[in-house]
């Protein structure tokens, strides 16, 4: 039984970070139909800002990273994506690749490609004993922070005017504009929120891994895309649950697969993803807006 609790906490902790990433990607996709590959660099740059400012204390670093990535997200919307808004989705996709590549290589130029150690929140890198299970505190904190952030994002989307406008835009962008919702404002807000979520993911992630390097965000963003697809493109709860699901499947396969099959774990993870897409091509949670209306 203890192994199960252990695995459940491990899985939920990893799944939480995936969920935050997936939500950041899903927000932009829902409104703009843009798959933002540069989300990986939002995460990476947040980690680098923390590295540069951690000497002033964690609260300052947290604020600097959130502010820095917020500005970066708004700038990339204004300079990279707004000029191609309304273009073919493939144009948007290529634009996001270009932005991602540009940011990543700029990081290599500035910081070099060698990973750097970064010890944030060292007091969380200790295990605690709960009912015979030794759990790293950082895992519990990751889960708690994620739950809080998801609740806050949910409240923002449901209770505030801007949030409701964003949901309207996600449901039907043209109709929302016709009804007087200002596209620039809504899209900028989505990018801003996406940037803040990227910062949270980066900090929780680096607190576990302790290493910063220019490709840090790539793996997370990749899983984030898979999660949004599994969850149902365009559905925000779907993105979150998709992220959690990928984390769960990965960890439980790692725990349960026999040793000979473990090296091929990723094949099993993606087999599960393929199964979901075959059985439910629209993803696990299909948003109402994605349904064809006759």
């Amino acid at each position: 039984m203890t192994w199960f609790v252990q695995a459940l906490v491990d899985a939920t902790s990893i799944g939480s970070i995936y969920a935050l990433t997936a939500l950041g990607i899903g927000l932009i996709f829902g409104i703009m139909r843009l798959i933002n590959f540069a989300h990986a660099e939002f995460i990476t740059i947040a980690a680098y800002v923390v590295m540069l400012t951690i000497a002033f204390g964690f609260p300052v670093a947290l604020f600097a990273a959130a502010a820095g990535v917020l500005i970066l997200a708004l700038l990339s919307e204004r300079l990279a994506f707004r000029p191609v808004r309304g273009a073919d989705p493939s144009t948007l996709l290529i634009t996001s690749f270009a932005l991602s590549y540009l940011l990543q290589n700029t990081l290599v130029l500035i910081f070099g490609a060698r990973p750097s150690g970064l010890n944030i929140l060292p007091e969380l890198s200790q295990p605690i004993l709960i009912g015979g299970v030794r759990l790293p505190i950082i895992h519990l904190v990751t889960i708690a922070v994620t739950v809080l952030l998801l609740a806050a994002t949910g409240a923002f989307l449901r209770k505030t005017r801007m949030g409701i406008e964003m949901r309207a835009a996600a449901a039907d962008f043209e109709m929302a504009r016709l009804l007087g919702i200002r596209a620039n404002r809504v899209i900028a807000a989505a990018f801003g929120l996406s940037g803040v979520l990227a910062t949270a993911a980066a900090i929780l992630y680096v607190a576990q891994t302790g290493v910063v390097e220019p490709r840090l965000g790539l793996h997370l963003a990749l899983i984030g895309f898979v999660a949004t697809v599994v969850g149902g493109m365009g559905s925000l709860p779907g993105a979150v649950l998709g992220g959690l699901a990928v984390g769960m499947v990965t960890v439980f396969l790692q725990v349960l697969l026999p040793a000979d099959l473990r090296p091929y774990r990723e094949a099993f993870v993606y087999l599960a993803v393929i199964l979901v897409l075959v059985l439910r091509p629209q993803g696990l949670f299909r948003p109402a807006s994605a349904r064809e209306r006759v």
Partner: protein, 392 residues
């Protein structure tokens, strides 16, 4: 007027460069390595050290009476551009081409050097295929084969640390790690038998940046093990942090890929951690020559080498120059014949042996350093009595 003046000046300069390189009293060494991009940090130390070796030889009057000059071309960390970079330095008259510290990134450049019958040396590609079998008879690497590294670590844990039961954690992303762990296990099982392995697990650094499940499994096996063999590379610090965060405080041993302190901030209070290296960069190596090198490197570059891999770059120039002197010629066939006769040559990077079929060292003693409370110190020079054979 100004424009045409500049053009004339440029034309003159361009025309003059190759002439200078081919001048009778000079011999050219080429570097087709990553000066930019993701692999650049791993070529940087060996490159700087190689330049120091060139300066040392020139200070003693050069090689066969000729001054060594060097040219470099950037592969931009792109294997495809490796061939172009090699062609570039060869067209400038390079007699020796040093290539990237990795099989995949270094091989394309080495293949070009091979096709033009010049010697190609990788600083620290640890794959034994970097040689006759994978590239051609002119390709060499200064690295110590993982077979010997694995054996040194096994004997070190068994004899010096007195450990009897190992838990192995292997990173499947990098060939070096897989090979290191498998050779370690071979030698360890000879020493300890089947009971000596308390557990084995793996991750793939490409997919598993967080290894919570692996760490939990290690935690369960902790009571049965008394040492962890960790085959991790580049982001290794991250995994060490996760292992220690789970409360696994067993001593850890690792290969040369974990050398250096650049990642140590990830686990600032790390204890009982041992890694192999070509030489301690902390000024306390058992070899006075290595310490002298580190001091001179630090003076020349303003900072100590980031990892002990720098020594392999020095070794490339030193080995080639030694073979050239013995051959009395720069001709690749003559130099190769002398390189293949290397038997325990006492180079800065350590004792170096090559043979007609094996162009990587599989018998070199290496330094082991210990990290304790964030401080690194040399434990000593270690060798293995028995080393798993290299099979192709």
């Amino acid at each position: 007027m100004i424009r045409s003046g500049t053009r004339i000046l440029l034309t003159t300069a361009i025309a003059a460069t190759p002439l200078a390189a081919f001048a009778q009293d000079e011999v050219t060494v080429g570097f087709a390595i990553a000066l930019s991009g993701f692999v650049a940090p791993y070529d940087d130390g060996p490159y700087k050290a190689a330049q120091l070796a060139i300066d040392d030889i020139n200070a003693k009057g050069g090689l066969l009476g000729k001054k060594i000059v060097h040219v470099a071309a950037d592969t931009a960390s792109d294997p495809a551009q490796g061939a172009t970079a090699a062609t570039d330095v060869l067209s400038k008259g390079a007699e020796l081409v040093m290539v990237t510290c990795d099989f995949d990134f270094g091989a394309p450049a080495a293949l070009v050097a091979q096709s033009q019958n010049k010697i190609a040396f990788s600083s620290c590609a640890a794959d034994a295929k970097f040689g006759v079998q994978g590239i051609g008879p002119n390709a060499y690497t200064m690295s110590t084969a993982t077979n010997h590294q694995g054996a040194i670590l096994a004997e070190f844990a068994w004899n010096t640390l007195g450990k009897r039961s190992v838990y192995i954690l292997n990173d499947l992303q990098v060939e070096y790690n897989k090979s290191l762990c498998s050779n370690f296990e071979k030698r360890w099982r000879e020493l300890a038998g089947g009971e000596g392995v308390a557990g084995y697990d793996e991750y793939n650094a490409g997919n598993d940046t967080v290894i919570a499940a692996q760490v939990s499994r290690m935690k369960e096996a902790e009571a049965k093990a008394d040492v962890v063999m960790f085959c991790g590379a580049i982001n290794g610090g991250s995994y060490v942090r996760q292992i220690r965060a789970a409360g696994v405080n067993l001593p850890m041993i690792t290969g040369e890929s974990m050398d250096g302190t650049y990642w140590l901030e990830a686990v600032p209070d790390l204890k009982d951690f041992y890694n192999l290296t070509y030489g301690s960069i902390h000024g306390d190596d058992p070899s006075a020559r290595v310490n002298d090198f580190v001091a001179r490197f630090t003076k020349a570059q303003g900072a100590a080498p980031v990892t002990g891999h720098a020594l392999t770059g020095y070794g490339v120039i030193e080995a080639w120059a030694l073979a050239v002197e013995r051959a009395g010629s720069f001709d690749a066939d003559a130099v190769r014949a002398k390189l293949d006769e290397f038997a325990g040559e006492d180079l800065l990077v350590g004792k170096t042996t090559f043979s007609k079929d094996l162009h990587i060292n599989n018998s070199r003693p290496m330094t082991i350093v210990k990290i304790d409370g964030g401080k690194v110190s040399s434990v000593g020079l270690f060798d293995a009595e028995k080393t798993p054979e290299i099979k192709f």
